[in-house]
């Protein structure tokens, strides 16, 4: 089972390597959106510091929503998903592997780019570290819950917009605790409570997200 998991992850990474545009688009979108805010609101350092975490996190959520419709769409269109459903190994392994690959290709690069964005907002070094940590814990949630949303909107016309409406409200706790951790650091409060809650949310969504995605995929292919 672990073999199938790692094989699917490696295959997804190989596919992404052969069409680099998809993963790169998401990262560039994230950087551009997060860089537009200082241009819009003006260069007042205190104001920028206060809004930095929220802006970075919202840009990360939007970038995730941009990338999620593609999670199952190609496999659905070319019949691969059908083969994954009739295959003997549990479907949840496939969903977990696809969510893991999605995080490696979108969540992880976003998290690693975030400290650079934070510099534009004049965040101190400590807050940059907390921003990175909050994104590393929080972005897997976007892939896991997003997988359920992507599966539910599979094959629906205009599914991309619907997907956003469906998953963005689910991402609210991640946004609140992720941005909250950085804000707490800025005002001198220990952010570990926020990060722990983020971790708890990750644990819950790793149980619920893939399970819901499996059920939705079976319905989509009925």
């Amino acid at each position: 089972m672990l073999q199938v998991f790692s094989f699917i992850v490696r295959r997804e990474l190989r596919l992404a390597l052969r069409r680099k545009g998809d993963a790169l688009n998401v990262l560039v979108f994230f950087v551009v959106v997060a860089s537009l805010f200082p241009l819009g609101v003006g260069p007042e350092p205190n104001q920028l510091r206060a809004m930095a975490a929220g802006v970075v996190w919202i840009a990360a959520l939007l970038a995730a929503v941009l990338s999620l419709p593609r999670l199952f769409a190609a496999d659905y269109a070319d019949g691969t998903l059908e083969q994954m459903l009739v295959a003997p190994q549990p479907l949840i392994v496939v969903v977990l592997a696809k969510a893991a690959a999605h995080w490696l290709l979108t969540g992880l690069p976003l998290a690693l780019a975030a400290p650079l964005i934070g510099l534009q907002y004049d965040l101190p070094a400590g807050a940059l570290g907390v921003l990175l940590a909050s994104l590393l814990i929080g972005t897997p949630v976007l892939s896991l819950l997003g997988a359920a949303g992507a599966a539910l909107t599979l094959g629906v016309r205009g599914g991309g917009a619907l997907l956003g409406l469906l998953v963005l409200p689910l991402f609210v706790p991640v946004l609140v605790f992720g941005a909250g951790a950085v804000t707490a650091t800025l005002i001198g409060i220990n952010p570990s409570a926020h990060l722990s809650l983020l971790g708890a949310f990750l644990a819950v969504s790793s149980l619920i997200g893939p399970w819901a995605a499996c059920a939705a995929l079976r319905v989509a292919l009925d």
Partner: protein, 203 residues
């Protein structure tokens, strides 16, 4: 081994067929015929466990279909399940891996030879013609000789005479070795079978 009792299927609220029953034993071939829209594909997808029947049951070795059944079943639908970015070889390797078949590269190359597409092995699937895609998808037959039940949806569509002969030879060998085969086809391709039957779905 494969048993269908009082099966009924619906598509979008429309009853396609009802009260369908048959049993397939080792070496058995079942041809499913019927006009466009009579439910041939739906029947095959129901047998594969993808679509839930409106009534009736599909049973394998006496029990309802489950994980064990999927290990002994190969389903090839209309879609070729090939990734444009991957080579033919990589595509077949992936297909065997998710079907839990442990298969070496030399075995995949043999399968390609069986379908007459050896020279396409390292070509990305994007450059294949319709017929070549179909051949590449059907190369899985040569890899699945140990899989008891084959469910093939229109395996001969888009194939030339040479490929049709190769595929029907593979099917005949599978049946002679005690395998089972259910296929839908508009053409009447002769396949040597110990026990051949056909059903006609009324639209």
């Amino acid at each position: 081994m494969l048993e269908i009792t009082t099966l009924a299927c619906e598509r979008g609220g429309l009853r396609l067929f009802s009260d369908l029953g048959f049993a397939l034993q080792a070496g058995g071939l079942l041809r499913v015929r019927g006009a466009n829209g009579s439910g041939k594909t739906t029947l095959l997808r129901t047998l594969a466990g993808l679509t839930r029947p409106a009534a009736g049951q599909v049973r394998w070795r006496g029990s309802a279909i489950g994980d064990e059944y999927h290990r002994e079943m190969l389903f090839l639908g209309h879609a070729a399940a090939l990734k444009d970015e991957l080579t033919v070889l990589e595509n077949l390797e992936f297909a065997s891996r998710i079907s839990c078949l442990e298969i070496s590269e030399s075995r995949i190359k043999n399968a390609l030879e069986c379908l007459g597409i050896t020279r396409l092995a390292d070509l990305p699937a994007r450059y294949l013609s319709q017929g070549q895609r179909k051949r590449a998808a059907l190369a899985r037959l040569a890899l699945s000789s140990g899989v008891a039940l084959w469910l093939l949806d229109e395996p001969f569509a888009a194939l030339d005479d040479d490929a049709i002969a190769r595929v029907s030879a593979l099917c005949a060998a599978h049946l002679a070795a005690g395998g089972m085969l259910v296929l839908t086809s508009h053409q009447d391709i002769p396949i040597a079978a110990p026990d051949a039957r056909s059903i006609e779905l009324q639209g």
